[in-house]
Amino acid sequence: MRILLVEDDAEAAAYAAKGLRDAGHVVDHALDGESGLNMATSGGYDAYVIDRMLPKMDGLSLLSNRREEGDETPALFLSALGEVDDRVSGLKAGGDDYLVKPYAFSELLARIEALGRRRAAPTDVVTRFKVGDLELDVLTRTVRRAERKIDLQPREFRLLEYLIRHAGQVVTRTMLLENVWEYHFDPQTNVIDVHISRLRAKIDKDFDKPLLKTIRGAGYRLSDAE
């Protein structure tokens, strides 16, 4: 992916850019809002990562500006402001995701890749998903693995739906908490891990090949690959 990173803290930006490059992405970096806007206008990016507080032009204005021009490149806001209202204003300005500083790099990477995926997805609504021999049908709300029906609780279904929609990508605990439970705070105990292990017991336990993997220090990934 070609990523535009707009961040005024050079050191933080260098750290993020290095990590993203190591993960195989191309990163351009702008130090202030105006040059960020200029670079975004020249086009060709797959995702924007924009700090909210920037010199010359703040992140919200930058993105609203691009959105007014019809630019639909997915964007993620980075911000030290983490309360719900700030999050809402970020999303209103056209942001697709919001990450509060300080963040773990794995969290940033997972979210950027999720954004890229969202863009690459075909525009028709997909209602059936498949990873290996695991199938999920959103309309009939059924899950099968190797043609065998698996009964899931409603929340387990939503959890699996989120994972399967982001199949092949790392999904962090915070992403799950935000998207499956709609909470924006981090519990101090391993509540998500326990939900994952319950889900795993249903979809992986009786089968040869585990699909739901734990990625150390990052989160989880549902994938058919080894």
């Binding site: 983490g82 719900v84 519990p187 101090q188 326990v194």
Partner: protein, 474 residues
């Protein structure tokens, strides 16, 4: 004094006075015309018709008849004035005027006003003096035929002295009333603007004091509940909020200074030492530093959240929330983790009134209760999350466990920032969890309470119950 003239209220008063005075003047003019104007016109009409009657009489019956009729009329009527003079001889043939008014000759054929003297007669008919009267009338010249040498001058008039007197009186009364109104208005206006000005001055003085740095100053209110009082209490409420925010900010910066200085110092010292050491020591120091900075960041975030909730900023919009649904969701989120940790988890929901609040914050508080129960209820076997109606009719959320609990004398201290009781020193955590919950409770006007939890299976002790009681909504 000059300041008063510049005040809005005085200007309003002035405009009001001018408008009111104009209204009075208009009313006066109207009344004047409707009464005296009408009366004058009527008098003129009567005089004209009288003259035409006399003219008819003269042309049909001659001067002798005219003389007789005029004599008769003067005898009957008191305020009717007639005079018949034969010309050119100048002999007064009939009438009650002693002399021909000089105005009569110049205004021949038209109306004229004149003064005349009238004897003052007492009840017995004796003359006791002379009275100055005023009258209005017309003088006509009658001739038997166009070329007749002999002509008669006829004066027909009406005494208008009493009417004139009344007219003068009314005019001066109306004028005086208008003047008094204006004067009164100006005085009242001055008093009003002075009073108002004094009260505004108080607001202004308070503002100056506050600008000077004394944030505790408040605008005194009179308790009358008028607009100025309203303004005062609104400004006071605003000042309260500002003071609270400033205090919050100060507290946050104090806390940041206090709570972050020591770990940062530790990091610096460790890195300093590592510079001297070998590669292995450096690695160890770096890893420890990463761990420490994670903790610093967590502390920092927690402090920031607390400050934002306290300032009312993080609460977002308080709207009606279904507290049972929130508890149910949290139960669903935590139950597996509790079971995995070896607890028997129970969720008890009773009908609960709706409250106003933030779903996010209330959920966060419940999550904190449950996190604490999971972390600190060592050796316990049960965790209970319950929601229901409080005694006072509000909603109450509580989490109880049968862990070691907290001794009653220590319970109060738990809510203070960074207080981590001796027994729990070894468990990870910033110690800010309950401070956060307490900020959330304050933002919702809710009450936090620690009490006895679930009884231990043996030994007669009990665990801890933490409950958050929301005041009944409206």
């Amino acid at each position: 004094m000059l300041r008063i003239l510049r005040t809005t209220s005085f200007r309003f008063t002035l405009i009001y006075v001018v408008l009111f005075a104009s209204a009075v003047a208009l009313l006066g003019v109207y009344l004047y015309n409707a009464t005296f104007g009408e009366a004058a016109k009527q008098t003129d009409a009567v005089i004209d018709s009288e003259i035409s009657v006399l003219a008819d009489l003269f042309s049909t019956s001659g001067s002798g008849m005219l003389t007789r009729v005029i004599r008769q009329r003067t005898a009957w009527s008191d305020d009717a004035i007639y005079m018949l003079i034969g010309a050119p001889s100048g002999a007064v043939l009939a009438g009650n005027l002693t002399a021909l008014p000089p105005e009569a000759l110049t205004a021949e054929g038209g109306f004229f006003n004149f003064k005349f003297e009238k004897p003052l007669v007492d009840a017995a008919g004796r003359e006791v003096g002379i009275q100055q009267r005023e009258a209005r009338g017309k003088m006509m010249r009658f001739r038997a035929s166009a070329d007749a040498e002999q002509s008669y001058l006829v004066v027909v008039a009406r005494d208008v002295a009493s009417r004139e007197f009344l007219r003068e009186r009314s005019r001066s009364v109306v004028t005086r009333a208008a003047l008094v109104t204006v004067a009164f208005g100006v005085v009242i206006g001055l008093i009003f603007s002075r009073t108002l000005l004094r009260r505004v001055e108080v607001v202004s003085k308070t503002a100056r004091a506050i600008r000077g740095g004394d944030l505790s100053q408040r605008i005194p209110t009179t308790g009358s509940g008028d607009e100025l009082d309203d303004l005062g209490s609104n400004l006071n409420a605003m000042l309260d909020q500002i003071e609270r925010l400033m205090a919050g900010m100060r507290e946050v910066s104090d806390n940041i200074a206090h709570d972050l200085r020591s770990p940062l110092t530790r990091i610096r010292n460790r890195l300093n030492n590592a510079l001297e050491g070998d590669a292995e020591a450096k690695d160890a120091a770096l890893r420890a530093t990463i761990d420490d900075s994670e903790k610093v960041l967590a502390t920092f975030n927690a402090l920031l959240s607390i400050a934002r909730i306290q300032s009312g900023e993080g609460a977002g919009v308080m709207k009606p929330i279904d507290i049972v649904a929130i508890a149910e969701e949290m139960a669903e989120l935590y139950e597996p983790a509790a079971q995995d940790a070896g607890f028997d988890f129970k969720f008890i929901a009773a009908p609960t009134p709706q409250i106003k609040g933030s779903r996010e914050l209330v959920s966060q508080a419940v999550a904190n209760f449950l996190d604490n129960a999971l972390k600190y209820a060592d050796g316990g076997t049960r965790i209970e999350l319950s929601v229901g109606r409080s005694k006072s009719g509000g909603a109450v959320l509580s989490v109880a466990d049968d862990g070691p609990g907290i001794a009653p004398e220590n319970r109060e201290r738990v809510f203070e920032r960074f207080v981590r009781l001796e027994q729990s020193r070894s468990t990870p955590g910033s110690g800010l969890g309950l401070s956060l919950v307490s900020a959330i409770a304050r933002a919702h006007g809710a009450k936090l309470e620690l009490s006895d939890g679930l009884p231990h299976a043996e030994g007669g002790g009990c665990g801890l119950r933490i409950s958050m009681t929301f005041a009944p909504g409206d």
